[in-house]
Each structure stands twice: as C-alpha cells, then as structure tokens.
C-alpha cells in the first residue's frame, strides 16, 4: 500500500485559456479512502488521470511513497483504475478480462489463475467467467471492472465515478460492497464522484474541488458541518445550506448580524472575527435542519414569512419559505406531520448557534456559531482501517 502526495499539481491543456487543474496539493495516507468530490468540469477526473499517468502533469509533483512519479509511465506506477464506463474488453471473456493485465506482467499461468479465481470468488463472479461483457448486467460488469483492479494487487486503487451507470438500488448495494472491500483490502483508494452521498458515506476524507482548485479537504462530517466557503456550503447537503444576504453591524462594541429587519446576536461566535467586517455585506448561512417551525427557547430567533412550496418526503417535509424583508427564499426541514400549505403564514426559528457567516466578497468563512464543533470523527478512521 502507499502514501500518495500531490504537490501543487497543475494541468494546462494546449489551446485552452483556463487551467483544468490548478495548484492542487493533497496528501493521501496509506490505507485512506480519499474522495474527490465536485461538480462536472471541476477537474477531479483530470486530477485522477494525472495520478494514473493517463494525463501528463503540466506543473507540480506527484509522489507515491516518496518517489516522484511525474515521468513514470502509467504501467509502471503500480496503480489500478476502475473506469466510469467499466472499459471491459468486449472481445474477451470475464476470465480473459481479469487475466489480461496479469499476462502482460509475466505472471505464471498458475498465479494468474489463482488470483483471478480469488477475485471472482470475492466478487461473486464465479458463474460468469466464460461470459463476454455484453452478456452481463450493469452490476456484473461493474464487479468485473472492480475485479480487474483487485487481481493486480496494486499499491493504489483509483475509481472514476464507478457507480454512476448503475440504477439507484444497485448503486446503494455496490456502495456498501466498496466500503467493505476497502476495509478488507486496507488499500489506499482515491475515488472520484459528483455524488455527495457517495462521498459522505464512503470517504475517510473528502477533497471538494471547484473550478480546478481544492475548495476544502476534511472528514465528511467536517466539510458538511464546517464548510470553508459558500461553494462547499451550497454543494454539500440536499437541500443545500440556506445562504441569505446579510450585513454586519456593531453596537456597543458587539457585532450584530442584520438580516432583513432582524438584528441577531450570534451565540458563541468569535466577536473579534466579525467586528472587522462591520458595515460590510456578508452571507448568512444556515442548514435546513437548523431551521425549525416555531422552535422556542435557546438561542433561536424567529422569522416570519409565507410558504411558497411544500414537499412531503415521507420521513420529513421540506418547506420553502419567503421570509419577510429578506428578499430570497429559505428551505427548512419540517417534521413528517408538517401541515403547512402554500400561501400560509409561517413562523420559522433559527438555531443561531449553528449559523455560518461568509464574506460576501471572498465567499470564505468568517465565523461560525458555537454549536459547530471543530473536529469530527470519521466513519472509517485510517487507524481502524490499518488495524
């Protein structure tokens, strides 16, 4: 297994005005499951392809276990990759697909056979060894693609959106299989996706990318609960964080957040971080689950408005509200018994200790409410994986 380090990795295509990937620095520990997450065109797949050796690196350094890999051909990096399209060789059987890479490496026939059978046993593909890819279902093809990577026993596994071609239910089960596989193999894995659920559930850490740059790196819950900027705040979460226009004011040396006609004091927020922004526009961020219907007590603040949409989802109800005097809509998670109707007046309560204040100018975080923890446990800590 391996440590992978990206140091100011940059990709510039010929004849392109913008860089595809800019100054990406990232350390991936041995046995870690790192997820590169971002919207289409953010550079996550290009970054993965540079790690794989399928794209030349324009600037920066890629090292694996301390060895510079920039000029090492893909075949010599000891990396295996699972492609979005699976990239199974259509003229070969499942067995031949799995053995293809091993033959090239000069393994003995017995070794190839042992590895292929071990992988197919693990993935439940024993009955399909003689079939060609066209005779397999989407899920089976995906497992063959996975098997092709596993038989190589590489130092690093790369996944380029491997679940995106599966239907919803198969995606969930395959996701769980991948999590188990990671725990079993204890391998370094780098996984590219634009699906935040996959990122949140699978990753030891998530690297969120936007416009070719790293927006934030951290454990899934950390990037969700403590986003570094408005992009991360709005990209993670469904529905995403509410981002409302606000202004910082100072009264008797204490900062206040002017939100419409409301003047809010944020409990636990570092006053020294907010005061330099007095008189400036900011973005007030709050997650839908931190807004409740008529929640009383604590540091909550009430805001009235008109309901513009109600979306009952069974377990909960999403309520969209046009708050008075704020000028943009707000989404909150109502209970499953929420009885609100479109056009009705609604009283919403903010949990002010869970608010985020972003700079309107730079979009970066300025301060957070006191209820937002500073560190988060991960679902699959590296230490546990190694053990």
């Amino acid at each position: 297994m391996a440590n992978v380090t990206l140091d100011r990795l940059t990709k510039r295509y010929a004849n392109a005005t913008d860089v595809a990937v800019s100054d990406v620095s990232l350390g991936i520990a041995d046995g870690e499951f790192m997820v590169l997450l971002g919207p289409s065109g953010c550079g996550k797949s290009t970054t993965l392809r540079m790690i794989a050796g399928l794209e030349p690196i324009s600037e920066g350094t890629l090292t694996i276990d301390g060895v510079r890999m920039n000029d090492v051909p893909a075949k010599d990096r000891d990396i295996a990759m699972v492609f979005q399209s699976y990239a199974l060789y259509p003229h070969m059987t499942v067995y031949e697909n799995l053995a293809f890479g091993l033959k090239r490496r000069g393994l003995a026939k017995e070794d190839i056979d042992r590895r292929v059978r071990a992988a197919t046993q693990m993935l439940g593909l024993n009955d399909f060894l003689a079939r060609k890819p066209f005779a397999l279902s989407g899920g089976q093809r995906q497992r063959v693609a996975l098997g092709r990577a596993i038989v190589r026993e590489p130092r690093v596994f790369l996944f380029d959106e491997p679940l995106s071609n599966l239907d919803a239910s198969l995606r969930v089960s395959t996701r769980n299989e991948l999590i188990k596989l990671h725990q079993r193999l204890k391998a370094t894995m780098i996984y590219v996706t634009h699906d935040q659920i996959e990122a949140m559930t699978m990753g030891t850490r998530i690297c969120i990318m936007n416009k070719g740059r790293v927006a934030q790196i951290g454990p899934p819950l950390e990037v969700y609960r403590a986003p570094a900027d408005t992009f991360v705040a709005s990209f993670l979460g469904n529905p995403p964080m509410n981002l409302l226009p606000a202004r910082i004011e100072a009264a008797e040396g204490q900062p206040l957040v002017a939100l419409g006609a409301h003047r809010l004091t944020l409990p636990g927020v570092d006053a020294d971080a907010l005061l330099p922004h007095a008189g400036r526009d900011v973005v007030f961020g709050i997650r839908p689950e931190d807004v409740r219907e008529r929640r009383a007590g604590g540091s909550a603040a009430e805001i009235a408005g008109v309901v513009t949409a109600v979306e009952p989802l069974g377990a909960e109800t999403l309520v969209t509200l046009a708050p008075d005097g704020i000028g943009c809509e707000l989404v909150l998670r109502g209970g499953r018994d929420c009885r609100s109707r479109v056009g009705e007046r609604f009283l919403a309560a903010f949990d002010l200790s869970a608010t985020h204040i972003f700079s309107a100018e730079t979009t970066r975080i300025i301060a957070r409410g006191g209820a937002v923890p500073l560190s988060y446990p991960t679902a699959f800590p590296i230490e546990e994986v190694r053990a």
């Binding site: 392809r49 794989a52 050796g53 399928l54 893909a74 075949k75 990396i79 295996a80 990759m81 492609f83 979005q84 399209s85 699976y86 990239a87 060789y89 259509p90 003229h91 293809f100 890479g101 090239r104 490496r105 092709r148 190589r152």
Partner: protein, 275 residues
Amino acid sequence: MIWKQALPRALILLALSLYTAYAAGPFLWIASMSLRSTQDIFDNPYALPLAPQFGKYVTAWTTSNYGVYFTNSTVVVVAAVLILTVVGAMAAHALARYKFPGNRFVFFLIFSTIIFPPQITIIALFQVLVDYGLFNSLTGLTLSYVALQLPLTIFLLESFFARLPQDLFDAARMDGYSDWEIFWRITLPVGLPAVATTIILNFIHLWNEFLYAVVLITDENKRTLPLGIMKFMGDQLQDIGMIATGMMIAVIPVIVLYAFFSEKLIQGMTAGAVK
C-alpha cells in the same frame, strides 16, 4: 383485425421478394448461361440449362488460361487487401487516437485524393511505374491497388475507431500494454466489424478492377480475371456462353468471402445505429 396485422407484413414480404428477384435475377441468369453453349443462348436466352455443360468450366480453366488469371488475381488482390488492411488500420488508429499537430490536415489530405477519378492519375501512375521498373509486374499492380484504395480504407476505419471509447485504451495502458500491443490486441479485434467491411469492399472492388489492370499489365501470363473475360469479347463475335462461365469463376471467391464475413459486414454497416 387479422388483416390489419397481416397486411403490412405481406406488403413487406412482397417488397423484399421483388427486391430479391431484382438483385439475384441477373446472377441466376448468368449462372444459367454459364452452363449453356453460346448457340443455345442465342436460340433462347432465358431457357434453363436442361443439359448443363459443366465441361465449360474445365475448358475455361485449362484452355482459356483462366487458371493463370485466377492465380494472378488472387495473388494481387490478396496481397493488396492484406497491405491495405494492416497499413490502413494503423493509419486510422493513429489518426483516431493520437492528438498531434496537423492530425486533421493529414486526414483530409489523404481523404481528398478520393475526389480524383482514376483516369486522371493513370498516365502519371504509368510513368511512375515505368521509372521504378514496376510496369507490367504484379508487384506494380498490387502497389497501385493499395494506393487506389488506401484513402477510402483509412476514412472508413478512422470513423469507426474514433467511436471506440477512450477508456478501453486507457485501461489497456494501465494494464501495461504498449501502443503497438494495444493496436493489435484492442483496436483490431474490437474494430473487427469495420475491418471486415473494408476487407470485403476492397476485395470486391479490386477483384473486379479493370482499368489499372488493362493499362499496367501487358503480358498474357500476368493478366488478371477481368482481362481474361475480355478475351471472349471480339470485334465480330462475343462468346456469351464462355463470358458467363468466366464471370462465374470470377464471382465465386467474392461470394465465399461475403458468406464468411457477412455477419461482421452487417455489424460494421449498422454500428452505432442501435445502442
């Protein structure tokens, strides 16, 4: 209700039957004439060969030098198709897969030569072959055929290869294969429908090619089949019966090849039509 379902099917069957008769009719007529004498044909052109003269095939093969023509055609066409397939596929693979400056320029330069009819280039080609000592040789004719069909071969294969997913090639690279190995182990087998299509098209076209053969070959023993058939067409008399026999001998390899590759040919022609 049954009529509503059966009528469209019957119309389709009728249309297909008419087309089959239209397409296969001349072939069957020639096949019938190949077993009849010329006098018999003049007496009744459409009669069936009630007393088939299989000996005409032996006569054509032995006394009319068809064995030599057939061998010459086979050598020239098989060699040309082999070179065309390998060189054309390599060029198409390079043009479809590799980004390099002038890629499209090279592609269109090669393809643009298709617009010149062979009559325009034949005199220049004649001179080139004379200069290089290749005139009146099967090697010269083979190379001329390669030059004639290469642009179309590259065009057909490039358009097919370009549609193959890049991930396949990336996966092979990750598996440790070189560009050379990827061409032989991935591009050619995966592109087999298109390769088969070009093999058949090139084979049929070159097997029937007459203009280059008549200009570039003068020796009797270097003639190809289309020139051999001409032997039976004199100014005063046309030996229709022997022409039909000669044509049947000429067409049999094409039919065999088509039967062998027809499934791949259809796959190649309909590639991309359905997901």
